[in-house]
Subunit: 238 residues, 2 copies
Amino acid sequence: MKSEKISELTTNRLSVYLRCLNLLASAGIKTISSQALADQFNLNSAQIRKDLAYFGEFGVRGVGYAVDDLRRHLTQILGLDSAHRVGIVGAGNLGTALANYNGFLASNFAVVALFDNDREKIGRTVGEAGVMVHDVRKVARVVHDEKIDVAVIAVPARVAQRALNVVMSAGVRAVLNFAPVRLHTRLGVKVKNVDLTISLESLSYYLARPQITCVTNPRSILPYEEITQREEHELSSK
Amino acid sequence: MKSEKISELTTNRLSVYLRCLNLLASAGIKTISSQALADQFNLNSAQIRKDLAYFGEFGVRGVGYAVDDLRRHLTQILGLDSAHRVGIVGAGNLGTALANYNGFLASNFAVVALFDNDREKIGRTVGEAGVMVHDVRKVARVVHDEKIDVAVIAVPARVAQRALNVVMSAGVRAVLNFAPVRLHTRLGVKVKNVDLTISLESLSYYLARPQITCVTNPRSILPYEEITQREEHELSSK
DNA sequence: CTCTGTGAAGTCATTCACAGCG
DNA sequence: CGCTGTGAATGACTTCACAGAG
């Protein structure tokens, strides 16, 4: 246990570890070594140990980690023990899709408001959960009333900075940005970008160079047998 | 110009550079130095030069880069000069939102098919563009007929590996995965992950630790002046 | 004897700094 | 001169390898 600065790569992996542990827990596994965890999910055992060691000594030498115990620790480290309330700026396709997306709930996130400036949309509710669309000029009030602590930016690139400014002024300190621009942020505000344009263009790059993807990642040949799970008829929704 | 292996970080940045150049071009700028480009978009000039130098000598010493010329080169390097045809597996909220999302078009990507196994959805069309929803069992045929070269996986995590196997078998070599699982891929197939769970949980981590993102003077307002653009009433759709 | 936690080594990425071209 | 292209220096992240706890 040290108190250095933790890299974002590490925190992202903590999230992955938690996900793996949840799978193990629901399979009834009580204890796991970093080596077994690494084997099962294509990770590196030293890296798992190192990542965890930043936050404490959670393992037992000679044995490994207690699955449930480690889950609790990671949940707490990631701040997932307290619920988060999400407001989405932009009630277009993406914004409404995210409002309906219930994958968030598993991690203790609930979408509680949408914002837009389209008269047609304001005042209506969206999806089964009935999330209300508010006037974007009311961000400050709604953020306060609804105790929103996370904002999602789902507006066109040219207005994304303005959207960010609005939510920052309202006191939101965590923002997920889907607009393909690098935004300027205040100190104390964390912005994470999800840039589909970059992802797609990067795929395009690899398509133009078939030889590259064949050379890299020679390990990925190995773990590819578990396609034998036969529980068909499940592809759908989300 | 060398022929080393190009890192994914570099290709992602090429995409960013292209975006910046497009902005400059539409502002009528003909020529730019790596330094000016770096200043304007918060990049590092040495890195820009190095990234570009992997692919050729595009600059003119003492002058800089010709915007239009460099745009053409990057478009070609990223393989964006040929059109890409996208098939989306999973016609749920996310899948249909992506089918309607026209931000793809700018980069020469067109969504031409959706796949699902829900009887209710199969045979219908989605959105203004009228993208058809096909039976997921017909992936191989539709991929061939529609010349699909990019797949998007927008199904629940537990069936994502199966969805990937299906599209890989159909010969698709570039995949964008939205399901929160690390998928096993064949050699020669490139999978890019967009993991909203990791992004959100990472935000949660920072929320739980205000001191990290605002280590220095929490009041200080960094590069944050350009809020003075007054062209309101634009937040919307996308 | 097994497996953690961790310094040390190794690998990869970014930034510096400057020779040399235009 | 100014700016590119690039080796060399620095920094960041990952993996190795092992002392020592249980």
